[in-house]
Point group: C2
Chain length 325, copies 2
Amino acid sequence: MSYYLGLDIGGSYLQLGLVTETGDLLAVRNRASAGGFTGDELTVAINEMIIDIKAEYRLVNTDILALGAGVPGHVDNKSGYILHTNNLSFNMYPLRQRLNDLSQIPVYLANDATLATLAESRLGAGQGYSDLVMITIGTGIGGGIVLGGKIYTGYNQGASELGHHVIMLNGELCSCGRRGCFEAYASATALIRMTKRAAEKNPDSYLAELITKQNGIISGKTAFLAQGQGDVVAATVIDEYLDNVAEGCANIINILMPELMILGGGISQEGEDFLQEVARRSIELAYLPAGQVPPRFALASLGNEAGVIGAALFAAECRADKIYG
Amino acid sequence: MSYYLGLDIGGSYLQLGLVTETGDLLAVRNRASAGGFTGDELTVAINEMIIDIKAEYRLVNTDILALGAGVPGHVDNKSGYILHTNNLSFNMYPLRQRLNDLSQIPVYLANDATLATLAESRLGAGQGYSDLVMITIGTGIGGGIVLGGKIYTGYNQGASELGHHVIMLNGELCSCGRRGCFEAYASATALIRMTKRAAEKNPDSYLAELITKQNGIISGKTAFLAQGQGDVVAATVIDEYLDNVAEGCANIINILMPELMILGGGISQEGEDFLQEVARRSIELAYLPAGQVPPRFALASLGNEAGVIGAALFAAECRADKIYG
């Protein structure tokens, strides 16, 4: 039997999956911590995970058709280089060549959110839709676009940086260096900033009390928790945050008008209420005259493994299309 | 010989073109004024133009394969309805059926900026590029997207409303009802607003003097003219305006990463200097790490006739693909 490997290079971990030709995930390995690695340390660590998974499943190299790698940034699948990552330091790094040298397995590269989108499109919330957009709301905001059933990456594979479109001219500084990006207003990081500011301004609120109980630690859940307890300050934070998320979603709808919008990432774990509220506000903001069917909204359904599954599917598609590798 | 008709339904005029099967424009008719018409008056006026052009070229109905119509708003080419226009009053109007009844010619509908983009893509500035975006900067901002050589309209034909993505949360009111749209910051209308405010704030400036000389009339050219005379107030207006145009362009690049960005519409008549300045600022703002080739920028080259040529090309493609009509 033949297999693909799917690799997700995250900010703080590496995840490797062994996937069948039909997209079934057989095994997953996690390893800390990509953030502290140099490019060559990263390559060695990936190869160790490959050796480990091959040993456990008694696989030889000819059993593995290819490896797909998801990178949180810009890659060039033609040259096999990681071009740039915002949060890691793998800039202009020839991952394909280095990993080829060690593992002797064909390697394909893509953006991580693009690969999660591919997985959701084929096996998750996007099954049956040919045109969809996925937005992953976590520490940052990533995105993926599927058009006509195919991943759309733009002519230089730099498209679908959905988190890096400005919704507030001269606004908050973004991780990308620009001001006012969607990511700077609608990521978990943005929500944490908004939560912190609101608590500082309202020291007598339940929100401030909750943060003190949490030893000053604020997460993307904090404001949602306080809102759930009826706190008005938190409710105001969530209301503004939902507006920000919806503004970005409405922008993407007006530009791309997909049939389906998938919300993924940590914040989407707030679940169905969050989804419905984002959908309602987005559709109200978007340019959708009477007579036009609005896009549907759905939560991502494959969870944390979407990245590795998508990476494996991508490797299979690149191999089938005989591109690069 | 066989021909197509291309129709451009503008805010203040109707333009009809007679086009050969290879896209050559043989004749153009203009007629005021679509803005004041009801849907049925519009249909009658279009049919009179068809009769006129048929008479002059001694054509019978079998010589005309189809008519494509560009509408400044949302249409449904499946049902043949104009769904909604911002500036006209043709909402939920069955243009295909009514025009079929009068003219006996197959009719296809699309957005006007989409059709101008199709024309530029096939015969103008976009020749040889398979992925491109055109932005038409006039009274409003329209846009068209070509991906893989084909016009992209989204699953309900409502995509590429590029002027209606918000770049300033809670900003200036837009014609679409939302606040802070690209159109509300980067259209000729926005530039006129900015020019007016700057002149009022600086009554001793050359800009204010020029407006007085123009009997109080401000156009999209006014600030450019005053800047050309060395006026500092006008230069500040143009600088801010160029930033606004570039922010929207950079957003579109980050989302779609086309190989080519085409600038069209009235403001693009400012020419090569305007183009180069928008390109420079957009590429600086966009998320383009080292190693990635930025999109090119070009001015639209077909002028005012892009709409009717694109409409005729669209009719030909719909007919070839046997869709609707």
